[in-house]
Each structure stands twice: as C-alpha cells, then as structure tokens.
Symmetry: none
DNA sequence: CCTCGACTACTAAAATGCGCATGGGACACT
DNA sequence: AGTGTCCCATGCGCATTTTAGTAGTCGAGG
C-alpha cells in the first residue's frame, strides 16, 4: 500500500515515513501543497496523509482541490491540538478522518487501516487465499495454521497481491503500490522478492498460490492449472 | 445466484437445499463426487457447497480436480466437528471457506454472502462470445467451460477482437492495439497469431468464432453472414 | 470453366528477452 | 563488530516471439 505524506516539517515527515515503512507501507514525501497535488495526480496512492499547516496552499485547499478534481483517494488530516476548528473545516474540505498532533503511531496506523478497509469494503482485517491467511492489523501471515515470518517488503508485496487476489497484477502496478517513487524499473527487484515470497509461502505445500504469468505479471490464487 | 450442493446424506441435502431456496437461491443437488464434478463442468454455478464426506471421490478430491481444471468458482466446505484436520486439507485443496457441521443456517448464509461479495469485488468484466468467455482480470479464457491457456500476445489479440466483437477489424487496427509502434507492416505476424488462436480456440468446435474477411481483416463473432 | 494473381494459412527454425537463481555489497540498527 | 534487510549485478535456460519460406485458397476476368 502506497502512501503520500504531506508535512512541511522535514524531520517530522521523515520520522513518520520511517514509522510507516516499518509497517510495510511504501511512502512518498511532499513538503508543500503544490508538490503534494502534483504527486497525487501523477501517482496512484492508496492513501494521503495531509498536515493542515503547510506553506503556500494549506491542507484544506489541497484536499478540496483533489476532491474537485474527482479523486476519491482516502485522506487523513493531521491537525494541531489547539486548532480544533481545523477538524471541522478539514472534514468539510473532503477529508475522511483526522488525527490530532502529537499522535501515537499505533493510533495513526489503526486509522489508516480503517480507511483502507472502508475503501475496499472488506469486512475484516483478514485476507484469505485458500489456506493462506493475512492479518493486516497484526501484519501476521500464516499458512495451514503455521506462522510465516516476513520482512516489511515481503509482507507489503504479499498483501498487495492478496488484496488483488485472483487478478493478474502487472509489474508496473506492483512497483506503484509496493515501492515508492524511487523505484528503478530496470531493476529486477520484483522478481527477487517474488522468489523470496515463494520460498516462504509456497515451499512444501501441495498447491502453489503465487503464479507467474509470463509477459503479463503475477497472480495470487488458489486454482491455476498451468496448462490444459 | 445458482448453487450446487454436494452432500451424500439425502435428507440432509434436501433440508439444506430447501433452506437455501427459501433465501432465493437456485439449488442443484449432487450426492457423490463424480456427479458433482460433471454438473460443475456442464453448468456454471456461482458457488459450490461441498461436504467432505462423500462416497467415491471425497470433497477434497472434487475440490482439487475443479481447481486443477482451472475453475475459480467459490467453494465452501462442510466438515464434521471432530475432523478438524479436514479444515486444513480442505483449504489446501483450494476451498475458500469451511463451515463445521452441524451448522446454523444463518451462519452458513452469512458465509455464502461473504464469498459471493468477495467474488463480485474481485471479478472484473467478462467478455463473452457464444460459449467463449474471457475473464479480463484473471486473464483466463474458457470455451465451453474448458480453460484455454494463451500466451501474452495471443491473449492480447483475442481480447482485442472480443472487445470489438462482431466488427470486422483491419490489420492496421490490430497492429496498433496489440503491438507497438515498431510493428513492421510487411511481416506476417498477425496471420501467424490468428492461426495460433484458431488452433486453440476454434479447433474441435462445431462453430468457428474467428472469421477471415478477405481483403478487410478479421472478425470474432458467433454467426457471421457469409456475404458482403 | 479455367487461369492467374493476390491474398491467406500453415510450418518450422532462429532469435529474442523474460523470469529464475544466486551471491555480494550498501546501509542501518543493535 | 555483528546481524538482518534491502538492493544491485550477472549468467543462464527456455518459453515466447519473430522471421522466413512454402503451400493453399479465393475470386475476378478471360
């Protein structure tokens, strides 16, 4: 899941980005409203975290411009404690939720997941593909009841594939959602990580879940006969 | 919504079928694995409810054979309470969910709706030409229920023809959409790929779907008028 | 009805480049 | 310093794509 963090405080932004990356999000940063809008239009984010206080265009303006442009990306606003009216105007501008600074990372993550879930119309935090279960809250993966330890990137990739389960997912889509704007399309990172996931997820199981569609992309699904 | 119930206990099956019909499902019954497989191939169900305990082929076998044949129909397994390992092996065989017998009809209905909802969320637009079906998300093609494996280019060509089904599609249009700007118009690539598609799609079927319009292009359609 | 030329079908071999595997290096955090 | 994750680079096998060549079909005009 790829997130855009818009925050004028450089350090604050970096700290937040790091925290999110540890929880398997791909994070881009923007430090002012115009940059934020530009990035939001160019890339496809799954969520945008928007500080109200920004140089130039403030958060509410960014938000309403996005909505005016027809974007339905979930937006989470950050507001300072003493600016209570900001909450109201933020929601008015089209934000989906707000969090008061200073915030606890755990709470922020909970709100993020709630927004993502709402968008996906998922009923719960568990993604399931055959006997593979992914708890998106705890970031825990099990297959046939056995826990599978994954690194942040491995998890991010698996979760994205699971979120689009059944569909053939192209490399461009994967890099868009699992990596950030610095992804180098000539690298073979995706293949490397798919291979790592296979070792951990598919090894020793009768049916494979991660399928290669040569020339098209990858697919996470239960039933795939590779020939016929 | 059409459901296949596979249950060897005649009374149990009838009771379940009645309960489902009261909730507006169309229900077919099968009492053993082979019949179930046959019905599943001939008809297209929206969901299959599969008892693990069956005479002859058991539920897991039916399940994995369906998956091996490329079917992606949602499968809900019924397992007895004391056969806990069945849950695992059921999911292993490619089932999407399981319910423990004896079950409450309300709970079963909830699971059914959850699976159907998931399918709706995940299933993309399906192109259909006579008995040829193209799932554009899974990139899977079936004719008369049988999966047809295609390479990336073959699929791209077929999807484009299907997208413009009925119309006569010229070579220029095909090369524009299926190949890139470097396409060499003196090559016979299109003819080669049309030929490959015919082998896979039309061979062994009474009606041809891929038609040549001499001097004009090609056409994907069920019944073509042979004059001009 | 036959012939001819243009268009299309089919086959097979050559070339391309995708995806897999693996190991080592950069970087950060302990 | 040590551990682990992420990223980069190389080489290879092989499915797919492409090229090329021959056989076959169609339809109009003689």
């Amino acid at each position: 899941m790829r997130i855009l963090v818009v925050e004028d405080d450089l350090d604050g932004g970096r700290v937040l980005a790091k925290g999110l990356r540890e929880h398997a999000f791909a994070v881009d940063l923007a430090h002012d409203g115009s940059t934020a809008l530009h990035k939001a239009f160019v890339n496809s984010y799954d969520l945008i975290i928007l500080d109200v206080m920004l140089p130039g265009k403030d958060g509410r303006e960014v938000c309403s411009e996005l909505r005016a442009a027809g974007s339905s990306v979930p937006i989470l606003m950050l507001t300072a404690r003493d600016q209570v009216p900001d909450r109201i105007s933020g929601l008015n501008a089209g934000a989906d939720d707000y969090v008061i600074k200073p915030f606890d990372l755990g709470e922020l993550l909970a709100r993020i997941h709630a927004l993502l879930r709402r968008r996906d119309r998922l009923n719960g935090p568990i993604l399931q593909v055959a006997d593979l279960q992914i708890d998106t809250h705890q970031r825990r993966v099990t297959r046939a009841g056995r826990p599978i330890p994954l690194t942040a990137k491995e998890y991010a990739l698996l979760e994205y594939l699971a979120w689009r389960q059944g569909a053939v997912v192209g490399r461009a889509e994967i890099s868009e959602h699992v990596w950030d704007e610095n992804y180098d399309p000539t690298s073979n990172l995706i293949e490397v990580y798919v291979q790592r996931l296979r070792r951990k997820v598919d090894y020793g199981h009768p049916i494979r879940l991660i399928h290669t569609r040569r020339g098209e992309g990858y697919q996470l699904a239960a039933g795939q006969s590779d020939e016929a």
